[in-house]
């Protein structure tokens, strides 16, 4: 499958590496090319400098043929805007994003956006560890 990832932080770079390792075609975007240092030397995908909330950049990243789009930048609102562009403008079949703020995540889930809040997930995990 063809996947476009927005944000080459630790999570983005790791996901890109994992998907690439499984033979998927990966393009990863970041606004700072220094972030691409996180990609391993074995990475076969494409690293593209640009803003994933910009339609032109998304087109260059091949969003029109993408099977999935993932937004994992540090900023919730940028992630939310980018996945909505991917879903509603480019009709990407599968979109996923990270939203740190649990309340915002809930709202966007009700609007049909698949979003995960690491805040909730990790807090829950820590609680379970401590109580076990």
């Amino acid at each position: 499958m063809k996947v476009v990832i927005m944000g080459c932080g630790r999570v983005g770079a790791k996901l890109a590496d994992l998907l690439d390792g499984d033979g998927h075609q990966v393009t990863i975007l970041d606004t700072d090319d220094y972030s691409f240092r996180r990609l391993p030397a074995t990475f076969n995908g494409t690293a593209l400098l640009g803003d994933g909330t910009d339609e032109e950049v998304l087109k260059r990243a091949g969003i029109e043929e993408a099977d999935a789009f993932v937004a994992v930048t540090q900023e919730d609102n940028r992630n939310v805007m980018a996945v909505q562009i991917a879903k509603h403008i480019f009709n990407v079949p599968r979109i996923v994003c990270r939203i740190y703020d649990p309340l915002r995540r809930e709202l966007y889930n009700t609007l049909g956006i698949e979003a995960f809040s690491p805040t909730t997930i990790f807090a829950q995990m820590l609680k379970e560890k401590l109580e076990s």
């Binding site: 909330t53 940028r78 805007m81 403008i89």
Partner: protein, 220 residues
């Protein structure tokens, strides 16, 4: 009207001032503590410090009873999310977002924002009006109808000067609504109206027919 404004920068500040003068009840949500304090000192207690994209902040300021919600921060994505939260969580009927990148206008509309204001586009339109040689000037977009009101000036040496409107091959969806002559006399045009050099013609047209309209009126 109760109006909530997200973003207390220059746009937010002067907008609040103007709306207060008009007698509206307003509340500004601003992230920065110093800026928030400045607005309270200048305009009275109309500003709270907080994130206008957070549901908790918006509950606190009574977004549920707001008649209008305006997001004017410098970041398009923040304005989008603030308006979406207001619309979908608090059912505010009128949401307005400031846009910095003109390309986002269509995207925001598609994502349910009622009104978008692009300062870049407004400045561009004003520049068009100020440049006298500009063949076609955008005066107004008719929201949600896909039409715009434009102005075309007939140059002194135009091939269409002296011709009646029925002789021109105007695009089918464009309508000439008003002709203002050099002597400043406005006239509602008919098929027999003869175009004069230096007339100003106000027309309603879909954006795609703009180029054909300009060509038909200016004769080139």
């Amino acid at each position: 009207m109760y109006i909530i404004i997200v973003g207390g920068g220059k746009v937010g500040y002067y907008l609040s001032k103007a709306l207060l003068d008009e007698g509206h009840e307003i509340l500004v949500v601003e992230k920065d503590a110093d800026r928030s304090e400045f607005i309270c000192n200048e305009l009275g207690s109309v500003c709270i410090r907080g994130d206008g994209c957070e549901a908790a902040t918006l509950t606190e300021v009574g977004t549920g009873r707001a008649d209008m919600f305006i997001a004017v921060t410098g970041d398009d994505e923040d304005n989008l999310v603030a308006c979406q939260v207001a619309k979908h969580k608090f059912n505010v009927s009128r949401t307005i977002a400031r846009i910095n990148n003109p390309k986002n206008e269509a995207i925001f509309k598609k994502l349910g924002i009622d009104v978008t204001v692009s300062s870049t586009n407004i400045i561009l339109e004003n520049i068009e009006e100020e440049v006298p040689t500009h063949p076609l000037t955008h005066l107004l977009n008719i929201r949600d109808k896909g039409l715009e009101i434009v102005e075309v000036k007939i140059p002194p040496d135009s091939a269409t000067a002296g011709k009646a409107i029925r002789e021109l091959s105007l695009p089918p969806d464009s309508i000439l609504s008003l002709i203002i002559s050099k002597e400043r006399k406005p006239q509602v045009p008919t098929a027999n109206t003869v175009i004069q050099a230096e007339d100003q013609i106000i027309a309603v047209t879909p954006p795609e027919a703009e180029e054909a309209l300009r060509a038909a009126l200016r004769g080139a």
